[in-house]
């Protein structure tokens, strides 16, 4: 009886402790995100108020209206004049349009995923299925290439893009990002292909198909889940890519991607945190949405039992 009681106490203590640790971790991870989320609804100029507001007392969509270009930045200033107290000096400027960088990012990331999947899946098929000379060596090169930090290749990439006359275009981000993503994507897909049964391939050969046809008609359809997960990696990777994007866009607003646009927003308007927060929320929200849609596909692919061996 006594033992049970102390057991109960111990488990309660344990439960509390576990709960606290979990909460701490959640807070650490999600706290900043929440703060950004809350800030995006604050009226301009109230983000520095002390004591800090955990939820804006007067939530507003003004920040979203400004970055989406519904409201001119100057107009907001006028409406907020009283609250500003001269802390923020904003020159009258044309309408912002955050949808442009979002569109650019979508084009870049989609093209990068598609391109990386196409090239990497061919490479992965060769690695996992075909026999050729220097196979191990080429794998090593691929592996080392994947280990190189992006910052090392930024300068040469920039020079390359310049000589190709691609600076200030989306292609200057698409092509290098495809290359950056190939090592990881290839490895992911090679592992996936390797677990598909050999006999399917032999069967297709006997049925009269050549390797490239087998890749298209048997291997790829059976690898939808693998392709989607590798595709998501490439998509997210290029969505968040900043260094190259900021270098090759060279400040031209029409070709900026989301990360670059957010930074420019910060510089140009002297850290208007409500606007920056709204932009981040839009970007993250879009990612979450895309991940959810993809995830549905991935799970569909898995439960469709396309590979049941």
């Amino acid at each position: 009886m006594n033992g049970e009681l102390s057991n109960g106490r111990r488990s309660l203590k344990r439960w509390l402790l576990e709960g606290l640790v979990t909460l701490a971790i959640i807070g650490f991870c999600l706290g900043p995100l929440y703060w950004i989320f809350a800030t995006s609804f604050k009226p301009m100029g109230t983000e520095y108020v002390i004591p800090p507001e955990f939820w804006p007392s007067k939530p507003t969509l003004q920040a979203y209206a400004v970055i989406l270009g519904i409201q001119a930045p100057g107009a907001e200033r006028a409406s907020q004049e009283g609250a500003l107290k001269g802390t923020t000096e904003i020159k009258a400027s044309p309408h912002l349009n955050f949808l442009v960088p979002v569109r650019n990012s979508l084009i870049v990331s989609t093209s990068v995923s598609a391109g990386a999947l196409l090239l990497a899946s061919l490479a992965a098929y060769a690695i996992s299925r075909l026999r050729f000379r220097w196979k191990i060596q080429s794998l090593m090169v691929l592996w080392v290439a994947g280990l190189l930090p992006a910052v090392i290749v930024i300068a040469p990439t920039f020079v390359l893009m310049r000589s190709l006359n691609l600076l200030r275009t989306l292609l200057a981000m698409i092509l290098p990002n495809i290359a950056y993503n190939i090592p990881l994507t290839t490895w992911l897909l090679a592992v996936y292909f390797a677990q598909l049964p050999w006999e399917l391939e032999d069967a297709a050969k006997m049925d009269g198909y050549r390797p490239l046809q087998i890749y298209r008609k048997v291997i790829l359809p059976l690898s939808t889940p693998g392709l989607f997960s590798a595709g998501i990696f490439a998509f997210l990777g290029s969505w968040g890519e900043f260094m190259l994007a900021s270098a090759v866009t060279m400040g031209v607003a029409e070709v900026q991607t989301v990360p670059v646009a957010i930074l420019n927003l910060s510089f140009e308007y002297r850290y208007q945190w409500t606007w920056i927060s709204a932009a981040i929320c839009l970007s993250v929200g879009l990612m979450v949405l895309i991940a959810l849609v993809f995830q549905r596909w991935v799970i569909q692919g898995l439960t469709a039992g396309s590979v049941k061996y």
Binding site: P197, D202, A203, M206, G208, Y209, P221, L222, G305
Partner: protein, 365 residues
């Protein structure tokens, strides 16, 4: 439809000789079974004919055409795999149609031939299903359908029945035999199951350790095995082997606990042979078990009795050695009881202990 001819084919894997100079013919329209224990090279030979493995040396002909060096997709061979290897993302219809699509057959013709094939195999009602919705037997039929729909020159079958349960296997075995006879396509069938091999084969090729041991009709191999390996492999339960001494002065074989007087046929065959060790082989079904002694019989004691219903499979001991024999189901015997065995002389086999070749094989040919 064509004859397949394999000439001096070798396959070397690092330090393993998987195929050691294989030469054999697979006759046009016949079902030839490659049989042997696992690792004997039978599947390697099949896959070499398929083109999935390139031989280290030698030549392979289908009809008049030399095919080694030609990729599998150009050989016009269909293959049925042990795991069926159905495409999981395609319906049964698409699976069967797949080989036809490779040759750009017109759509309506594909449809006609798939439906016809499905009708032959009685799977018309399954055409819209995916492979995962099928039972083992149904998958087997789809795999067969995919092979026959194209009307290839040769069928290759790699243990196609081994994933089915025992009952279904016997049913499918009969259907397969019927289908093959009906279609008359040259078929090469690989199995490790000698019973399956015996029942299906027009011709048997027994393989061991990368070499062909013997080629012939099933009953030929059963009646006249060339060596100890074939004798022990074909027939169930396998042939009994006893090491004996040949004594020319006594005109008899001396066993661990018995003396077996030889008849004139054997004495004639052994006339040039010095005294020495031989391996005596006798099939369980050729041993008569008798409860009372008479001259020329071999004394033994009952070790185990296995009632099979139609008969009893008896394990008897001669000295340290165990022999198996059949007795009628109503025989009353006890464990340890002394019995006498009569070996029918015409059912006796003698093998050279060195080469393991049958002494009477040449003569019986």
């Amino acid at each position: 439809m064509s004859e397949v001819y394999v000439e001096e084919v070798c396959k070397q894997y690092r330090d393993v000789q998987a195929l050691d100079s294989i030469t054999c013919t697979f006759e046009d329209g016949q079902l030839t079974v490659l049989v042997g224990p696992s690792g004997c090279g039978k599947t390697t030979l099949l896959r070499t004919i398929a083109g999935l493995i390139e031989p280290s040396s030698g030549a392979i002909y289908i009809g008049k055409r030399r095919v080694d060096g030609i990729p599998p997709w150009e050989r016009n061979i269909a293959m049925v795999f042990q795991s069926y290897a159905l495409y999981p993302h395609m319906t049964v219809f698409k699976n069967i149609a797949f080989p036809l699509e490779a040759t750009r057959t017109p759509k309506d013709e594909i449809k006609r031939r798939v439906v016809e094939t499905a009708r032959i195999l009685q799977i018309e009602n399954l055409l819209d299903r995916k492979p995962r919705e099928l039972s083992g037997g149904q998958m087997q039929r789809v795999a067969l359908g995919r092979a026959i729909v194209r009307k290839p020159e040769v069928f290759l079958m790699d243990e196609p029945l081994s994933n089915l349960d025992a009952k279904l296997r016997v049913v499918m075995r009969a259907e397969l035999k019927h289908l093959q006879t009906q279609l008359g396509v040259t078929t090469i069938y690989v199995t490790h199951d000698q019973a399956e091999a015996m029942t299906l084969a027009d011709k048997l090729i027994v393989m061991n350790a990368g070499r062909i041991q013997q080629v012939g009709r099933p009953e030929e191999l059963y009646r006249n095995p060339r060596n100890v390996f074939v004798a022990g492999f074909i027939g169930s339960p396998p042939m009994n082997f006893i090491e004996v001494q040949y004594d020319p002065t006594e005109r008899a074989l001396i066993g661990p606990d018995f003396q077996y007087p030889l008849g004139p046929r054997w004495l004639d065959l052994l006339r040039n042979r010095p005294a020495g060790t031989l391996i005596l082989g006798i099939r369980p079904e050729s041993i008569q078990v008798i409860a009372s002694p008479s001259p020329g019989m071999v004394p033994a004691s009952v070790y185990v009795m296995e009632q099979l219903g139609r008969e009893i499979l008896l394990d008897v001991k001669i000295g340290p050695q165990t022999l198996r024999a059949f007795v009628p189901a109503d025989t009353r015997l006890q464990m340890g009881q002394e019995v006498w065995l009569q070996f029918q002389e015409e059912a006796l086999y003698l093998f050279d202990p060195e080469t393991e070749v049958s002494l009477s094989w040449q003569e019986r040919q």
